[in-house]
Symmetry: none
Subunit: 245 residues, 2 copies
DNA sequence: GGCATAACTGTCGGTAGTGACAGGTTCCTA
DNA sequence: TAGGAACCTGTCACTACCGACAGTTATGCC
């Protein structure tokens, strides 16, 4: 099969080149596998709502805008299945499991996004959600055989691409994220918050005003780049920034 | 190729059966791919030393005991490369990158563990390290072509097996710890709270009402014997009850 | 058939957390 | 001596949380 050779060529590229541009990867994928469209996303679920950390796709600008603007991202049943999962998610399966979301799928069809496709969940170091969605340009009746034939190819190539993106990411993050250390008071206040104390109680304990406690917590949240006290405590405990008792 | 058909049969099993026993998976892998030995491990890198969470292998009992007793696990260069990585790790590459560990590789050869093989890192929900190590029973000169041909098969099947193990794990964990253990939903909701999500957002993500999210959080607080969501998250993170990613 | 457990939903009212506004002092270092 | 960093305080308006009330449905076990 010539298909085989094309796959191996692509594999060599993905394994040997440190940084593969998304556009190039998408172009290679499309030419190798008769893929109509691809979407790679890395969504930061730590941020308020869903902050898009990284997004590459080959859909039309208007289709993507509609998808994002309408907030479909929040209720997309494929995303729900992808979240925290490892197995590939078939769009058809998601459609069956979530009949409530039928309007979404209908809208997707109108936008030309197709209904036969697959989404591969990708692991992320932090609590983000990354995935590669693949929409092949083939007749519906050929889809099962196509999926079966190429799932392994997609799985491996998606992970190699993802690895490339993450490796590049961490280089950037290491250079900019530096000495955002918590002060003594911030640590102290965070510790009492982790112990379940309210602002008023902490203020009384430390002999400062409730307002000041809030001030320290606000600074801690900003430094940890989180939105809630709860989240700040989760991060602090994970990073061993506050004493465990 | 008959190889192809054997792979597809195995793929069908891994995709359709909820729980695939390690022994069965290993047997199928060995017969399908001429694999000499397999090792699947899930270790806790946070614990002092390495706490083994799960371990299946086809190596001889004496070889495995030597490997573990001698503490090779701690200095294994392959594990070092696997840690936090996504890309497959070739044993030969690890040997080149870590000349200091030559004694380990020599010992491995004596023990019959082989030097041509590959280790696939697998993502885990908590701060653990999981991987599948594969050692094929073929002449060294055929290894590069073999690796190239089957990497995609290994990658996909390893992930499906890993998914099966993880899904089964969570079920066991819930049932064995008795009344004080958090339910699946409580764990899930707690995890999203730790990620800074509001009740409304979590409800949207999980497809349930905001009220129900509150219900689960209330139960979680009661079981953890704490008064606030923040405190609950602190406890849960400390006890590794919720995914960290 | 009872009983327990898990998953699920609704409303009310009080309290706690959060952002944005606008200040202050002390101490150390360039 | 100017600037920065840590520490400290106040008010207003809004949102989120949390306890207590009172349910429903499904499943599995004795």
């Amino acid at each position: 099969m010539t298909d085989q050779q094309a796959f191996f060529d692509l594999l060599d590229i993905m394994e040997n080149e440190k940084l593969v541009d998304a556009k190039r990867f998408f172009a290679l994928m499309r030419s190798t596998f008769c893929i109509a469209n691809l979407l790679y996303a890395d969504v930061d679920v730590l941020a308020k709502g869903f902050a898009i950390h990284r997004l590459h796709h080959t859909f039309s600008a208007s289709a993507a805008r509609t998808y994002l603007d309408e907030g479909f991202l929040r209720i997309d049943p494929i995303l729900q299945l992808t979240m925290g999962g490892i197995r590939p998610v078939d769009w058809a399966t998601a459609r069956e499991l979530h009949p409530d979301s039928e309007p979404l799928f209908s809208a997707a069809v109108r936008l030309g996004l197709g209904v036969d496709g697959i989404t591969l969940p990708l692991p992320t170091p932090t609590r983000r959600l990354a995935f590669l969605a693949i929409h092949a340009d083939i007749p519906a009746e050929e889809w099962p055989a196509y999926r079966r034939n190429h799932l392994r190819d997609f799985q491996l190539l998606a992970y190699l691409f993802h690895a490339s993106v993450l490796e590049n990411d961490s280089r950037i993050e290491l250079s900019q994220h530096g000495a955002k250390m918590l002060t003594h008071r911030e640590t102290e206040v965070l510790g009492w918050t982790a112990a379940g104390k309210s602002y008023w109680e902490i203020g009384t304990i430390l002999g400062i005003s409730e307002r000041t406690v809030r001030f320290f917590m606000t600074n801690a949240r900003r430094k940890l780049n989180v939105v809630s006290n709860t989240q700040a405590v989760a991060q602090a405990v994970r990073r061993d920034l506050i004493p465990t008792f």
